[in-house]
């Protein structure tokens, strides 16, 4: 029930991409694991790491992330599962006090977030986000300052969705509040433009937040909901992953739009849409190191292009022209620099070697 019901054993950097001061640091905590279940906890944490690395767009900025596993034991295994919500009425004495049945919803699984943040700050002062794995097979999870999920199949996807909110500032893209077919007051979204990058009330192609990702041939709006009293039942009229303007988002059937038909911010078993992926990359790129390419080894065809290898921003100086070639560069090839760093190339005239 409290921190007296267990202890913090230590911390392990399970994904190590360099100094924590320069990386985006995710802390994994466990609750409801007894001391003799630490091996299982390590495996559960490792599965989260694998899932995150395989998730677009984290795969493309993976070198910018460090993941830490903090080992915390509890007196009991599992979490509180009150009978009031249909659970068996069990009580578990755990360090972070994990409990189902919050706000009357059995699947709303919460922990003591202040304690979780405190442990994260003590063990990994440079942390940016915290996820708590709860040792229970009952499906559940939650968001907020700390993302929480249980071990039921697919529940880890809750954590990915909730990180979308807490770490990357994304909005929910689903078009219902209590659920499709249940809502009676979700017909039209208020006129105010939401601040988040992945939902909008704007239908003007020229000023649309994600206009740079919309092909000219894609109709805007892409879909309209013909009956604003309910969720739109129509299938995606365009090829999957087309970026457009789909009506139904941000808890409303009409008047709010999302960028793609599907997205993890709409249904957690889908991939992040291109707009959400772009936002996640935008946040994580400053943490991602890049290896400077050795431009002196580049082929002629490459040398005649602006080189944006791994996000490096080259600046050409010296002679230029069709026969120009690289004489030197700074920083030297092979060095690791921050993503977006500038590489200066000294060019000379003459035949390409």
């Amino acid at each position: 029930m409290t921190t007296a019901d267990g202890q913090v054993l230590g911390v392990t950097r399970v994904v190590d991409h360099g100094p924590p001061a320069e990386r985006w640091n995710l802390v994994i905590l466990g609750d409801g694991y007894r001391a003799n279940q630490m091996t299982q906890y390590a495996q559960d944490a490792a599965r989260l790491c694998v899932r995150l690395e395989a998730t677009r767009p984290f795969d493309s900025v993976w070198a910018g992330l460090n993941l830490y596993r903090v080992d915390v034991t509890s007196t009991d295994s599992g979490a509180d599962d009150p009978a009031a919500c249909g659970g068996p009425g069990t009580t578990a004495r755990t360090y972070f006090d994990a409990s189902f049945c919050n706000n009357g919803a059995r699947r709303l699984l919460l922990v003591n977030q202040a304690t979780a943040l405190s442990v994260a700050a003590q063990r990994v002062p440079q942390f940016h986000a915290v996820v708590v794995i709860v040792n229970s097979q009952v499906y559940g999870g939650s968001g907020g300052a700390v993302a929480t999920y249980s071990l039921a199949t697919g529940a880890e996807l809750i954590a990915l969705h909730e990180l979308g909110h807490s770490a990357f500032g994304l909005a929910d893209e689903y078009e219902s509040y209590l659920g499709c077919g249940i809502d009676t007051d979700r017909d039209h979204h208020p006129a105010a433009e939401p601040a988040e990058p992945n939902v909008t009330v704007n239908t003007d192609r020229a000023t649309l937040k994600w206009r740079s990702l919309v092909a000219q041939a894609t109709p805007i709006p892409t879909t309209r909901n013909a009956d604003c009293t309910r969720c739109d039942p129509q299938p995606d009229p365009l090829p999957a992953a087309t970026v457009g303007l789909y009506e139904g988002a941000h808890y409303y059937h009409c008047g709010a739009f999302r960028p793609q038909f599907d997205c993890r911010m709409r249904a957690i078993d889908k991939e992040f849409c291109a707009v959400c992926a772009q936002q996640i990359r935008r946040v994580l790129l400053p943490f991602t190191p890049a290896i400077v390419p050795d431009v002196r080894e580049m082929r002629r065809s490459a040398a005649h292009q602006r080189v944006v290898a791994a996000g490096l921003v080259p600046r050409y100086t010296g002679a230029t022209g069709p026969s120009a070639w690289v004489r030197s560069q700074s920083p030297a090839g092979g060095r690791t620099v921050r993503y977006g760093s500038e590489v200066t190339m000294q060019l000379r005239s003459g035949p390409i070697p």
Binding site: Q113, A114, P286
Partner: protein, 128 residues
């Protein structure tokens, strides 16, 4: 870029907000866009000048509940919160001229009618 920073953890219960901790740390702070209406944190000088401004996480009056999508349960729904309680963190640069951090509630709207209410002011400790 790595820089000295201050992480503050706050707890809220209804309209009451209090600071739980203040910690100095060397890290890379995620970039902050211009915050929209709602709660935000302002890093200020003693004279009230704003040095840094960051939007705060949306503090909902409800909670997001996911289900595996069987037995007719909606795969996602929102449920009203019995009490509006929780915690949030603020990460700001540790600047020598910074004197305090203010949490403000910006009602939004046109600049001439926009109302901004200060919720809490926290002095920044010299060492923490």
């Amino acid at each position: 870029m790595t820089e000295p920073a201050v992480r503050l953890v706050f707890e809220y219960d209804g309209d009451e907000v209090r600071m739980l901790s203040q910690q100095r740390v060397e890290l890379t702070i995620p970039s902050a866009g211009e915050p929209a209406a709602g709660w935000r944190a302002e890093l200020r000088t003693a004279e009230g000048g704003v040095l840094d401004r960051r939007g705060l996480p949306w503090i909902p009056l409800d909670a997001e509940v996911f289900a595996p999508g069987v037995d007719g349960e909606p795969s996602v729904r929102r449920v009203p919160a019995e009490r509006r309680t929780g915690v949030f963190t603020v990460l700001v640069p540790d600047l020598p001229e910074a004197d305090h951090l203010a949490l403000v509630d910006d009602a939004g709207g046109p600049p001439e009618t926009r109302q901004v209410r200060e919720i809490l002011r926290v002095p920044l400790r010299a060492e923490s």
